[in-house]
Symmetry: C2
Subunit: 202 residues, 2 copies
């Protein structure tokens, strides 16, 4: 891994601790580079060599840890998902709103194009499809469903429908219809709708 | 157009009226074949020659009327859109529900794959993107918005949000999350949510 060692040594201000710590730092760069490239060119056009070039590491550094392109993409999506750190403050409505604001902000930038790229790949690649559903979508759904249940009640018949509604409307508006969104205002109105009492229920 | 003439002449039970009527009938076959092939292979893989072969017409029959692939696809989408014939009975809630049932049924079959295919193409082809938005999405939005406004009032602040919510949730659930849907039950609950009074508004 000549490139990796060179990189570490150029940073003279930090005593280079070889091994675990160094490669973990490098992993972050690799995984964020994967997400960058998915944003820019889409999963289908993503080449591991391009990741290596941009992250300034050897190709074998990547392949040693993640034997296939799907492995490194899975890791990048899981890392991104974990980095979301959904906040729960005890105020379910505020937490739903802040989750939707974050999602809307992501979709307003490169995120809309990323989502379209992932959707394009889902159509032809069942592995990516399952990956995207299991990392991003399922976790987001569970998070929103739990928040909604804490106020509407665990037996409310529309928990799944309403937990889907936020991401659905944001993805539809930003990525599919291509309309500009004010993240704060949109999330505020969505939260009102999601917590609205259902006529005929309580 | 030898193929076209041969086709017409084989149907001995119908006096073949040449010209406008005949070619209009043939147009329907061509346009429905375009939609079939978009479902099966996606817009990107669609070849006008394949349309001609399956519709059993000469390639020049298609190109004479629609000079480019985009033209014939636009016509097919517009035709499909017009064929929806959104019903308005005066009962806005029932009309919203029936619109959403129809949409859910379409998405449950080949439609989910078609939508993913169109989304995939939207990402790389601005012409198709605008086409899809202008034919399918905008008309559907306007139809739902008008129905919602008739009950919630033209000045309700969430008309656009709620008009988007139905298609958004159905596309998200069926095409993106790949979850099975009961069209009737889903549309019923969605209609309840879309007509729910907003807390703090009347």
């Amino acid at each position: 891994m000549p490139k990796l060692d060179e990189e570490a040594n150029t940073d003279a201000s930090v005593a280079p601790k070889r091994g675990r710590r160094l490669s973990e730092d490098r992993s972050d760069v690799i995984l964020s580079t994967v997400l960058e490239l998915i944003n820019e060119v889409g999963y289908d056009q993503l080449r591991v060599q391009d990741v290596a070039d941009r992250a300034n590491v050897g190709l074998s550094t990547i392949y040693r840890r993640w034997p296939t392109k799907q492995d490194v993409v899975r890791a990048a999506l899981q890392c991104e998902e974990a980095a979301q750190k959904w906040v729960t403050t005890g105020d379910a409505r505020a937490d739903v709103k802040s989750t939707l604001v974050k999602l809307a902000e992501n979709l307003a930038g490169d995120g809309g194009q990323t989502v379209l790229g992932l959707l394009a790949t889902m159509r032809t690649d069942p592995e990516v499809r399952d990956l995207f559903r299991e990392t991003m979508l399922d976790h987001l759904h569970l998070h929103l469903r739990t928040l909604l249940a804490s106020e509407l009640g665990e037996d409310h018949p529309d928990l799944d429908l309403r937990a889907s509604a936020g991401p659905a409307i944001l993805i539809y508006t930003a990525a599919i219809c291509g309309k500009p969104m004010d993240a704060e205002a949109m999330a505020e109105r969505l939260a009102d709708l999601l917590f609205a009492p259902t006529p005929g229920l309580g």
